[in-house]
Symmetry: C2
Subunit: 424 residues, 2 copies
């Protein structure tokens, strides 16, 4: 049985590294800003290694800095371990639960086994995936995608810090000593294969709260694609340059952002811009020379994602021409995460655990709006996720909150699911 107090203590203890954006008086009333491979991330990684080694785990680092902590099973089988995975990196204005809960809960699961002298049959363990958020290096779930064989590691290594192009994932892995020796791969010979992947996570949406359920058994995730658009215009005086002679990338970007919103609304999906970049040498009375902005398109059906993308590109090309002398438009696809379906057997391991803990009416099947490393693992091993409610569905916000009870219930379901799966 999970130790609820210790789980909370550990969770908030690890939040000393990267605490930011205080919103209340209590010590834990802050958000988190622990960007992937920052100094704070390096500190919590050190804690993770020490803590899992203390629990008898062997820790392996792969070439993307993913950390695998493994606890041997009774059978001493060479089969891949059953993993509990999530991430310790956060958004720059994130909270204390997104990702963190999944890793800390997994540590608490191992502690509970350890103090009860419980041995699984097969090896079990924990994965801490690198740069899940895609906040600092703008490709989310990049390291689980490399592990799954979806992206060449060179592309992932080359990803630049979103605000400082001189820093890459590789340079930060090297700086912190997290460029491991093991290939980042599910390959049984060179890589680090997993037998299954269970991820506990806050829902990040309002459904569990609204339906008064304690657990979401996750059947899959919606698809999404991230783009970066760059518009090249021309500096000009805002008082003397007639509209017809302008090449105004900020006006064009504004129209594109508004248009993408209208298109997504019409097709029942989401399209969002979280980052817009201006040259730092901009001024009130000068038309800017260049603008770039992100676009994040989502829908549970990949065909709708494609349709929104198609309509946006068409609309953006028109907008690029429609004012004055027009602007030059170019773009890159930064993250491509098709909709994922999770594994039946993993799902039923969670269903059983949930039913016996909160009763058959205490949980529901749910699809994830966010992406998770479980999307990557689901391509290479049986995978599912366990959702717990979060206050008002708020996430990627300093005030993100999951109650002590809900954290504990989720962690108990994680433990029981692992044991169920180990028995199958």
């Amino acid at each position: 049985k999970i130790n609820s107090e210790r789980l909370q203590e550990t969770l908030h203890y690890t939040c000393q590294w990267g605490a930011a954006n205080r919103y209340g008086d209590k010590p834990t009333e802050t958000g988190m800003s622990r960007l992937a491979l920052s100094d704070d991330d390096a500190q919590v990684r050190r804690w993770f290694r020490q803590e899992t080694e203390r629990l008898g785990c062997k820790v392996t680092i792969d070439q993307m800095g993913n950390m695998f902590a493994r606890r041997p099973g009774a059978l001493r089988s060479s089969a891949p371990m059953t993993a509990m995975g999530s991430h310790l990196d956060t958004q720059p204005r994130g909270g204390r639960y997104d990702g963190i809960l999944g890793v800390v809960a997994a540590v608490e699961v191992l502690r509970t086994m350890e103090e009860n002298g419980y041995q699984t049959q097969y090896d079990v363990g924990i994965v801490n995936w690198t740069n899940e958020e895609g906040a600092r290096f703008p490709k989310s779930m990049v390291s689980s995608a490399v592990w799954a064989g979806d992206i060449p590691i060179e592309n992932a290594w080359a990803l630049q810090d979103i605000f400082d192009p001189s820093v890459t994932i590789k340079s930060e892995l090297e700086r912190h000593g997290y460029l491991g020796e093991v290939a980042c791969s599910a390959d049984p010979v060179n890589g680090y294969p997993l037998g299954a992947h269970f991820e506990l996570h806050i829902e990040q949406g309002p459904i569990l709260e609204q339906t008064v359920k304690k657990i979401g058994v996750v059947t899959g995730t919606q698809g999404y694609r991230w783009f970066k658009f760059t518009l090249a215009g021309r500096n000009a005086h805002t008082g003397t340059t007639p509209f017809e002679m302008r090449s105004d990338p900020l006006l064009a970007a504004s129209k594109m952002i508004a248009s993408s919103n209208a298109i997504a609304k019409k097709l029942g999906g989401l399209a969002s811009t979280g980052v817009l970049k201006m040259p730092i040498d901009s001024s009130t009375n000068t038309v800017p020379s260049e603008i770039s902005f992100s676009l994040d398109i989502r829908h549970p059906d990949d065909r709708v994602v494609a349709a929104i993308e198609h309509n946006c590109l068409q609309s953006f090309r028109d907008i690029a021409q429609e004012d004055g002398a027009g602007v030059d438009i170019s773009w890159t696809l930064d993250t491509d995460s098709p909709a994922a379906m999770f594994d039946k057997q993993c799902i039923s391991a969670v269903e059983q655990a949930a039913s016996s803990l909160v009763g058959p009416d205490g949980w529901l099947h749910i699809a994830s709006g966010a992406g998770h490393d479980s999307v990557g693992t689901s391509k290479r091993c049986p995978t599912t996720m366990i959702f717990v409610p979060c206050k008002d569905g708020v996430s990627h916000h300093p005030e993100e909150y999951c109650s002590q009870d809900d954290c504990t219930i989720g962690t108990q379901v994680l433990l029981d699911s692992i044991l169920n799966y180990d028995r199958f």
Copy 2:
């Protein structure tokens, strides 16, 4: 007669302080980035003082750092001097002529008088106005406005660097030793009154070039107002937060920028956004918490400026409510520069000078699209401006260009206008 070569040499010599944004191979093929009261501005100010003192001028600094260089006339009259004024500060991505030409040409005018042993009847001199551009401290022509009594000096001193609120005009004046003793005022007792103000400037628009004229005799300037809008929203996950639950300030700002453009177009005026600020802790998959953006509205008729403003505010209030949970909107008026009409006698001094140099068909009457310190001075002393063509009407751009010939002709007209006026 103006020394054309020396004028060019001096102009480009002074551009060593702040040269930036190279666009060609020739030594002078760069733009300028000499923000008001930056270290580069302090250097060119030192040059200006030395150079004018060498020409026998007495240099006075007022409490806004405006620099007045005065050359005594034959009458030894105590009447205020006839001034040639402009500014040595530039845009962050500006060129080598906007402002700079006016001050350097004035120096060349004094040199020409000096080497010909010519004495005017009344005192003549030069003013270098502080922070004309409004690029660093976002109130353009602020120091001539204080001088004219339009703005209390405390408000001007308190203006913050647009990207670093810890730095104010006052702190920068103090740092560089430019917080002078004389009141910044046209008051004859405490201040530094002027008898007249002539400003040579590039047109910054395409009219002279298109009509193949050498000189624009400026009859006045259009009105304009600068606003800063701040939209407060709420961080949220872009993948899990339905549109209805969002409070997205970037979406709202985008719609407002597009809307202001449509409104200005419809009313035949200009509305432009040159600066949009995002929190630096933004990310692709997070709705930003706060956005601010500038708005610059212009028209020759102040009533049309007011109408565009009115329609924008109405539209912005609607937009702030129309998506999801809405955003909070607030704003400040940063610059308010009503349309100005210049002085008949000054204008006729320039007309005469222009007619005798380039013939009656070589010049035309023109209204300025940009604001200038002459707007402020026109409220306290007879004022006009002399425009020279600039290539393709381009300004506030590194490639801003005025040919050697056009610089020389403009400077000759400036000299002759001053002499005409002195004789009136």
